[in-house]
């Protein structure tokens, strides 16, 4: 909301130090978002009149104007679209010096040539004068201004504050509302405008059945008042100045008065042309389905029964609380005016405004809530101004239709509770004083409590906590003491939900992976790059911003592919990346809705900082596998197994499924060439995509120390020729299942293929077996026996040829 300093000063004495006022407002909860200084108009700018407009001979967008500056006629080249003859606009004459408020740089206006045509000055937009942000065309001035008047006489010095008003305080949406809150902060009194109305000359033709409310649930109160024989004309300078100071455009005296009172008191008003109302009456009712109205902005709207309209005897003439109709408003022909001041239900105004896409100063206030009592006061204030500025006579009393006034809220306030919540030592007297100055009417005051009678403009006060906020705010949040930090622990650390995640990430980082963070929302094609999913498995938004961000990622695969693509395209060729993030699935059979996934990518050279042959070493399948094995070891996942697997994400034959406790937790391998084709990637790309939940929620039992054997170990080798398809894991499992006594470990130390000596499709494998006993030195005899037992079983049961 915009407020003017000069205008605000009408209702309360405030400091003339603008920064101090802004600071005070901000610290009271009325955040000043911007301060605009009005009227710092450089000398030399005058009211000019465009006499003639001709096209520029060499530039389509420029015009050559003849402009009367009051003292002479000047030729000026202008680029604005609205430099039409007959308009009065600000004219910067030669010698005017503009100063850029940010840089302090000076821009003097000089005689110059624009595309070959001489120009003797500049016509100005509102932005160039620092008055607003409108740079779309020249600022159009009042046609009655005398040509040659210096602009600093036309625009008075003022300051406009742009305020952010929180939704709980609609009472701040007016100059008076802001002034009222400054009473306790400044200690100064509120100067409410004096309103005096003459006795009306009641004309029965108007007051009988002038207003009828059909839907009290949406409009609990509606007042109307008729003023006859007004003269619609331009507003006086003071009124126009007020409106212009907060960026409103003056229209005519009647409309200007309704806008002025809206911005002064916060109550939206509307003026109808009485003679355009069929039946000369107002009916407040729900619209009929299919009814139409053309609003003031020239748009036609089709209505529904859940919108409230103001209708005459035949048709809707306004959208209640939102906008007036095009054909019932005040024009220069209007003589009799019906002034509306009403109380509409907030949620219905919001609904209508949103459904029809119309927002106005009026709907903005109604949908937040207006002051029940102000309905009448605002009508009085506007009526008095109309009689003063437009003449005419009052033809009715206030026709005030309502069922009943709302209940007056009272509230008990315990001083101890307030102080306890704030944590500051504030005296009871100060609390009571704050309440008094905020018009909260404290009564029944004793040592423990008082009773608050909530004024009609304070819609936000319902509980003691709300009163605590008022006390804290006015007392000053800066005066709340800083006390020693209470670092009490109320739950055991074992319940910390982030600890394992943090550790897992640290472990991945220790292995050399750089963490990535990708967006959750993605498009369908990207989501389905991970071939485990079909469209029906995807979690889809009902209201995405665009179809490119309509789905929740089912896996981290495509995000990681994108990260690799991005880096490769920027010549970052050696990559070790990971992401730990949540993924989403609509198919319970795959995984339940939301879980953590871990995605790892590895590509490029192993030793990019080395040289010669070492420089050419490139990461392969076993580099990634080894890193995973290290990770599992750190995580104490001792039973992870890798087995050959086929998966659309990976190249056939270079892919493994990873299982823990016999359950699949993910897969790894060389990313299929269809995904890397477009990347211009030089080296194979390896990825692992793992369900992170088993890594995060792993329950490691207690750890007990095991004695370290003090006796030497004995080794034996076993070598054999086998079919090429025999897997290392099969051999390990076979040896493991052979129950060899004292076998400590089995290590593969050689593997080779040679068609000549071994035959086609054959390979040689050699293992080293280490035997050790915890309590004694093993004898050759017993080791040899175990060795022999294994050799014979290998030959007979695994069907290999011993060497």
């Amino acid at each position: 909301m915009k407020i003017s300093y000069n205008w605000l000063s009408q209702y309360i004495n405030i400091s003339d130090r603008i920064e101090e006022v802004a600071d005070r407002l901000t610290m009271a909860g009325i955040e000043v978002e911007a301060i605009h200084r009005l009227g710092n108009i450089p000398e030399g700018i005058v009211v000019g009149e465009i006499l003639e407009r001709n096209p520029h001979p060499d530039a389509d967008k420029l015009s050559v104007c003849r402009v009367n500056s009051g003292s002479e006629e000047l030729q000026i080249v202008c680029g604005a679209p609205n430099c039409d003859a007959g308009k009065k606009v600000p004219l910067a004459t030669i010698g005017t010096v503009f100063v850029d408020p940010e840089s302090g740089k000076e821009f003097p206006i000089k005689k110059c040539k624009l595309r070959g045509v001489e120009s003797y000055g500049m016509l100005c937009s509102g932005k160039e004068l620092g008055l607003d942000d409108d740079h779309s065309g020249l600022m159009e001035l009042d046609a009655n201004l005398e040509i040659g008047t210096p602009m600093d006489k036309v625009i008075k010095n003022d300051v406009m504050f742009e305020l952010e008003i929180t939704s709980n305080r609609p009472d701040w949406l007016s100059h008076l509302g802001i002034a009222r809150d400054l009473v306790p902060l400044t200690g100064n009194e509120l100067k409410f405008p004096e309103i005096s109305l003459p006795e009306p000359n009641v004309q029965s033709e108007f007051s009988e059945g002038l207003v009828e409310i059909k839907d009290y649930d949406l409009c609990p109160r509606y007042t109307g008042r008729v003023i006859r024989n007004v003269k619609v004309k331009e507003s006086p300078a003071w009124l126009k100045e007020r409106l212009v100071s907060i960026g409103l455009r003056p229209i005519n005296n009647i409309v200007d008065i309704t806008n002025f009172v809206l911005m002064e008191l916060g109550q939206p008003l509307h003026a109808f042309d009485m003679n355009l109302l069929s039946g000369k009456k107002i009916i407040v009712r729900r619209a009929e389905n299919g009814e139409k109205i053309m609003t003031l902005d020239g748009d036609e709207h089709e209505l529904k029964t859940d919108y409230l309209v103001i209708a005459d005897a035949e048709k809707p003439v306004a959208l209640a609380g939102v906008m007036g109709g095009e054909h019932s408003g005040v024009t220069e022909e209007t003589v009799d005016v019906l002034l509306e001041s009403a109380y509409f239900k907030a949620s219905n105004v919001r609904h209508t405004s949103k459904a029809l896409g119309i927002s106005s100063d009026s709907s903005y206030r109604f949908e937040r809530g207006v002051d029940w009592k102000m309905v009448e006061t605002a009508s009085d204030r506007a009526t008095a101004l109309i009689l003063e500025l437009a003449g005419g006579e009052l033809a009715t009393d206030l026709v005030d239709v309502k069922q009943s006034d709302p209940e007056i809220k009272t509230l008990k306030c315990r001083f101890a509770k307030i102080k306890g919540l704030i944590g500051a030592d504030i005296s009871n007297d100060e609390i009571v004083d704050i309440f008094k100055k905020l018009e909260l009417n404290p009564s029944e005051i004793d040592n423990e409590k008082c009773v608050i009678t909530v004024p009609s403009f304070r819609l936000d006060i319902e509980r003691e906590a709300d009163l605590a906020e008022e006390v804290a705010r006015i007392h000053g949040l800066d005066k709340i003491p800083v006390i020693p930090v209470d670092a009490k622990s109320v739950a055991e650390f074992a319940k910390d939900a982030y600890f394992e995640q943090e550790k897992l990430m640290d472990e991945l980082i220790a292995l050399g992976f750089v963490e990535c963070v990708n967006y959750t929302l993605t498009d369908k094609d990207s989501a389905l790059k991970d071939s485990r999913f079909t469209e029906s498995d995807l979690v889809q938004l009902e209201n995405p911003i665009s179809i490119d961000q309509a789905f929740l990622r089912p896996s981290l695969f495509s995000g990681m592919l994108q990260n690799v693509t991005h880096n490769i395209s920027r010549q970052n060729t050696d990559l070790a990346l990971f992401e730990l993030g949540r993924v989403f699935c609509a198919n319970e059979k795959l995984y339940p809705e939301e879980r953590y996934e871990c995605c790892i990518a590895l590509t490029g050279r192993k030793n990019p900082e080395r040289f010669s042959a070492e420089l050419d070493e490139v990461c392969d399948f076993y580099d990634l596998k080894g890193m995973l094995e290290s990770l599992f070891e750190t995580r104490r996942v001792n039973d992870a197994r890798f087995s050959a697997y086929e998966d659309g994400r990976f190249e056939k034959g270079v892919c493994a499924e990873i299982t823990v406790d016999g359950k699949s937790i993910g897969a790894m391998g060389q990313v299929a060439s269809k995904f890397t084709k477009g990347m211009r990637i030089k080296h194979p790309l390896y990825m692992a995509i793992i369900n992170a939940d088993p890594l995060l929620n792993r329950k490691t039992g207690k750890i007990f120390y095991q004695a370290i054997s003090q006796f030497p170990s004995t080794s034996r080798d076993v070598a054999f020729v086998a079919d090429k398809s025999l897997e290392h894991q099969q051999v390990l499992d076979f040896i493991g299942n052979s129950n060899l006594k004292n076998l400590e470990k089995v290590e593969l130390f050689d593997i080779f293929e040679d068609e000549k000596t071994l035959g086609a499709g054959r390979k040689s494998m050699a293992y080293s077996l280490t035997f050790r006993n915890a309590e004694r030195t093993l004898t050759d005899k017993e080791v040899n026996a175990a060795h022999e037992k294994l050799r014979s079983r290998l030959a007979s049961e695994l069907n290999v040829e011993l060497r």
Binding site: G29, E31, T166, S167, N168, A346, S347, G420, L421, I422, G423, A424, R463, A465, A468, E469, R473, L477, I480, P481, V482, I483, V485, D486, A487, K488, S489, V490, A491, K495, D496, A497, Y498, F499, E502, I509, L511, G512, V514, E515, C516, V517, Y519, T520, L521, L541, E542, N543, I545, L552, H566, N567, R570, N572, L575, A576, R582, N607, E609, E614
Partner: protein
């Protein structure tokens, strides 16, 4: 009678000693080794001669042979040691080593971890909740009016079953309080979503960290003190804070917490829009309605809650001017933190 083998050994040792004097070259040492210990050298030859020796001389000769072998080995070793003092060869120590790859946390994670560490020190533990949550947890239970604009389809992502992508980490407050009795002292970092058109400062998903403390006699002074302590830990003890009144449906009184600008130290600059302050956190005393909804008696329990944007802190801390850089994952960017 003298022992011929012993005599030969003695003179051989003298000869070897002589030859290995005066820093012999590696080749000289090798020649000596071959002469005495080589396959056709003196020692193996004398060993063979043992069989022809008189039986009474054999034990003495055998012992002498062993001693001579050891002595020669010692002499050779000593001579070699002398030569290694010269040089074991040349290596260029300035050539690059085989570096282990260095991993890095993403700046968002770094900020989360730092915040979590600070709050853990102050007695908080981390709580979590899902990113897909209910309207009840995200809005209703947080005392958000039915017609509050934040519930709009304009601002919040919904699913056809009526649930939503959480717009804040605050639903974790509700989940935690509904699952346990007070006191509660948690922080909840996490990902949130708003229907914002992406630009330099907006992203459809972003991260927040939320704090909640419910106990007996918790006051705004506690809140202010914890926020100040946090500011000091995160940005250093020269940073000040100020609280401004504000409005949130789930706290009353509500405040916004500004940190004095870390760029200009409060003097006013472009980053703080000349105000000297940076808006960092929203906070307040938990609204009695929220306490009632989760079944806590507001006459007994009170507490504070606060929340702040992780990306905003990361952008201020590392002077990152475009939020989208955080989601691009260029390793040249990521390796800087």
């Amino acid at each position: 009678m003298s022992n011929p083998i012993v005599e030969k050994l003695n003179s051989a040792l003298l000869s070897a000693e002589e030859k290995l004097k005066n820093s012999p070259s590696d080749a000289d040492i090798e020649a000596v080794r071959i002469e005495f210990l080589g396959r056709k050298g003196l020692i193996p030859a004398l060993s063979k001669d043992m069989k022809d020796l008189a039986p009474e001389h054999k034990p003495e000769a055998g012992k002498a042979l062993n001693e001579a072998k050891n002595k020669l080995a010692e002499l050779l070793e000593a001579a070699k040691g002398g030569s290694s003092e010269k040089s074991a060869g040349f290596i260029d120590v300035t050539l690059p080593g085989r570096k282990r790859k260095i991993g890095k946390s993403h700046p968002i994670t770094k900020v989360i971890n730092d915040c979590v560490a600070i709050f853990r020190r102050m007695g908080f533990i981390v709580a979590e909740g899902p990113e897909i949550d209910t309207v009840y947890n995200n809005f209703d239970a947080l005392n958000t009016p039915d017609d509050h604009p934040s519930r709009d389809h304009q601002d919040t992502f919904y699913f056809s079953d009526g649930r939503l992508l959480r717009t804040q980490t605050s639903p974790v407050q509700i989940r935690t309080m509904e699952a346990q009795e007070p006191p509660v002292r948690i922080v909840a970092p996490g990902r949130c979503f708003r229907r914002d058109t992406p630009d330099a400062t907006h992203s459809m998903n972003f991260h927040q960290i939320e704090g909640l403390y419910i106990d007996k006699d918790v006051s705004m002074a506690d809140l202010k003190s914890i926020l100040l302590a946090f500011a000091h830990e995160l940005f250093g003890s020269s940073v000040g804070i100020r609280l401004r009144p504000h409005f949130f449906p789930f706290t009353e009184p509500s405040v916004e917490c500004d940190f004095s600008c870390i760029m200009c130290e409060g003097k006013g600059c472009r980053i703080c829009k000349n105000s000297g302050w940076l808006e960092i956190a929203g906070a307040g005393m938990v609204d009695p309605n929220v306490l009632k909804i989760v079944g806590y008696d507001p006459e007994i329990w009170s507490g504070y809650a606060f929340g702040m944007g992780i990306e905003r802190i990361a952008m201020i801390r590392y002077r990152i001017n475009d939020i989208r850089l955080l989601y691009e994952n260029d390793v040249r960017f990521l390796k800087q933190f």
